[in-house]
């Protein structure tokens, strides 16, 4: 069956979705969806991700306290520990940790998704061009990618963000962190896309399309891209979790997201010094961070299993 799949014609968007039953021909996508619906890991991951995205979009659904309103903090209540009024305790400034954890989801999700999309589009696009045209285009793009690839990600991001400085980080919000991470992560996507395109472009249906007179653009977009993109989607989904933890790490070190924006990494940094006397201040944001990364990794794993069983 996997043989059939790789030589299957490109999916036709106009076609009515076919029920993917064994024995009947099915597209890669409907087949994957069929697999996913039956995968417990996917269900758990998807539910968690859905909740987190909801939290990022509408934090007020989860907390009646607006964490961005300084009037909700009362310094006299600082580091109170877990109480009925403050489920996760309060922080150094007497702000409610629960509402801050909820409001902190937005930055993490935003950084994760934006970085994944940007690296996917840039790396995927360049990988498609490099793989399809080959020769000097490939050499040029691959060498440039290798230069970036050689820089250790966290170290490189730390350097970029230190150079950009706190003032600019404050001004541009999440974008500075997103661009720093994207700048270092796109070559990975390029490599995967390029390899995938090279294997796809020698398939019979591509030769056939070319013989029928299709131009390069049409072949790339209609025939190669749909058949080569699966590994990129898998990588991007898995990377999402990596980007989220990278953001928390950079914010923890003081170069990422800047206060007063609420970020889990910043919350953990603020709580670090008093971990022994007020552990809840550190544990709750760390717990949410772990759950979020876990959710995206589970989702990515399930998508990989469905789209690219060979990688399992």
């Amino acid at each position: 069956m996997s043989n059939e799949m790789t030589v299957a014609p490109p999916p036709q968007p106009a076609e009515a979705p076919q029920p993917a039953k064994p024995g009947k021909p099915a597209s890669l996508w409907s087949d994957a969806w069929y697999d996913l619906r039956r995968n417990k890991v996917f269900i758990i991951g998807a539910v968690l991700v859905f909740l987190l995205v909801l939290m990022a979009l509408f934090p007020s659904l989860f907390s009646h306290v607006d964490a961005y309103n300084p009037a909700t903090c009362n310094l006299a209540n600082a580091r109170q520990g877990v109480t009925g009024a403050h489920w996760f305790g309060t922080d150094n400034q007497g702000c409610d940790t629960y509402s801050r954890v909820i409001y902190g989801a937005r930055v993490s999700i935003l950084v994760g998704i934006l970085t994944a999309v940007i690296t996917g589009v840039v790396g995927g696009g360049l990988g498609l061009v490099a793989g399809f045209y080959g020769r000097w285009v490939d050499i040029l793009l691959s060498r440039v990618a290798e230069i970036f690839f050689a820089i250790p990600a966290i170290l490189g991001a730390l350097l970029i963000l230190s150079v950009v400085g706190r003032d600019n980080s404050q001004k541009w919000g999440v974008w500075v962190v997103v661009m720093a991470l994207a700048l270092l992560a796109w070559p990975l996507v390029l490599r995967i896309m390029r390899a995938s395109v090279i294997s796809a472009k020698n398939q019979d249906y591509v030769v056939a399309a070319r013989a029928l007179g299709a131009g390069s653009g049409r072949i790339m977009m209609r025939h190669i891209l749909p058949n080569a993109i699966a590994p990129v989607i898998v990588t991007s989904t898995l990377n999402l979790g990596v980007f989220i933890s990278a953001e928390a790490g950079l914010s923890f070190l003081g170069v990422g997201i800047q206060a007063p924006t609420i970020s889990w990494g910043l919350m953990i940094a603020d709580a670090r010094a008093r971990f022994l006397s007020a552990p809840e201040m550190l544990l709750f944001p760390a717990l949410l961070l772990s759950i979020t990364v876990l959710a995206f990794v589970m989702l990515g794993d399930a998508v990989r299993d469905a789209l690219d069983p060979k990688l399992r």
């Binding site: 009037a71 310094l75 007497g94 230190s162 404050q170 070190l253 003081g254 206060a259 010094a273």
Partner: protein
Amino acid sequence: MRVTNGAKIAAASALLALAVAACGGGSSSPGASGSADTPVRVYISEPQNDLIGGNTGESGGAEVLKALYAGLVDYNDKAEPQLEIAESIEHDATNTNWTIKIKPGYTWSDGTPVTAQNFVDAWNFTANSANAQQLGSYFSIVKGYDALNPADPDEDGPKTAPPATTKTLEGLKVVDDSTFTVELTHPFSGFETALGYSAFFPLPKAAFGADGKLVAAESTSPITNGPFKIAKPYKRGTDQTISVTRNDSFKGGKAKVANIDYKIYTDPETAYNDLLAGNLDVMDTLPASQVANAKATFGNRYIEGPSSGVGWLGFNIKTGGVYATNPELRKAISMSIDRKTITQTVFSGTRTAADDNISPLIPGYRQGACGEACNYDPAAAKQLWESNGGSAVKEVTLSYNADGGHKEWIEAVANNLRTNLGVAVTPKPYEKFAAILDDLGAKKVQGAFRLAWLMDWPLPDDYLRPVFGTGGSSNYVQYSNKQFDELLNKGDAAPTLDEAIKFYQQADDLALKDLAYVPIYFYQLNAAYSQNVKNVKLDPFEALDVLNIEKA
């Protein structure tokens, strides 16, 4: 001036802090501490300038200078002046003309004797504006200072001050190798007390080149006259340790330890962890977040005591935003800060709410001198803020040095302002204390900023002239009030301390009315030391007593 970074600290970047933390374990194993030559490791922040008395106005450098130099007088446990190098300090009936005799036997680390000329040379050098020494303004009381510091014709404008026509202070005269005289511009009864401050330290002949400037070697391995000398050249900005070794020929007493390493940190938390791990021996200012733990962890190796320190919020009153230039808005900001809760919660009770510019340790302190401006009254603050056009203020910036453990209280003040005044507040951290001091000196800090003061000598004028006086070394707020300056001079001239204090207090009242610096809290001393050392004492200036510390 001696400004303090609060939790006296220093390092370089998040990266470096990590590297320091990571390297700490390897650099010296706690087990090796038994050897007599293993250095005692003392925590400091990075000195802002070279290790020269006249150019060191912050607590990090002052800590090291305490070991390297000796002055005319030193201070005892009660901060009373005692003759050190000076054999006698005599003055005429008006306290204007002073004759200083020095003891024989004190030598420089290059072997030459300390002479009267060394003091006069150093003072002339420090007072000369062409040398841009941090503490130059301390010599404004000496006759001839104005000739060495010609006024800038248009203050901050494009024109520059004309070059000085002389290189020496008219009021300084060398009588012989061991005697010199000082003529002051006006009577100053506290002059003898002031003489122990680093601004008045001497410099050896070899420190000066043919052009009258300091030779390059002075910045890395200065020639010194104190109980310790530089063990290996220190490159400021690169080296993370300043190593000093005992000067066995020091006449003022022999130190009990052979070597001291001053370790530079940017994060007090890192230093505290090093102290716990046995990689640091003395930490003189514990981070507020750890004080509660430290009492239990260190037991009798924990030191608590009064401190001469005062913490301020300063405003750039000439070129800052409208909230900094308008005294009513500054007062509104001051009234919206909940000092009591901040000292109790953020500092775990290790600070007290300030109600005067002068520390309670100093004669002349008055409880509640600051009046309503330092009382927490959100409603009145809001009203004052709005009736003076505060609603138009877009954003208040609070600059601070991140290496001093100030983040939490600055955040708390920010929340106070946001909540009580409804204004947007941006805290602006500087990585190093030295960096914010450089920017403050260059008048680049536009809004509000934190600054703290440790006494140079135990008299109230020391809390006023260097900070609020026109041209004062730490007058980063650009405050200038003729009446204030005159009151200080009157206080200096008063025949007794009690009479002097009356004038100083009147000057203090003017400063508290104009609120260029707003007092926030009074410090308390919280220190701890490792099991490797004993007999650890901090002097009233919060520097380690280097003569008496011993290996355990």
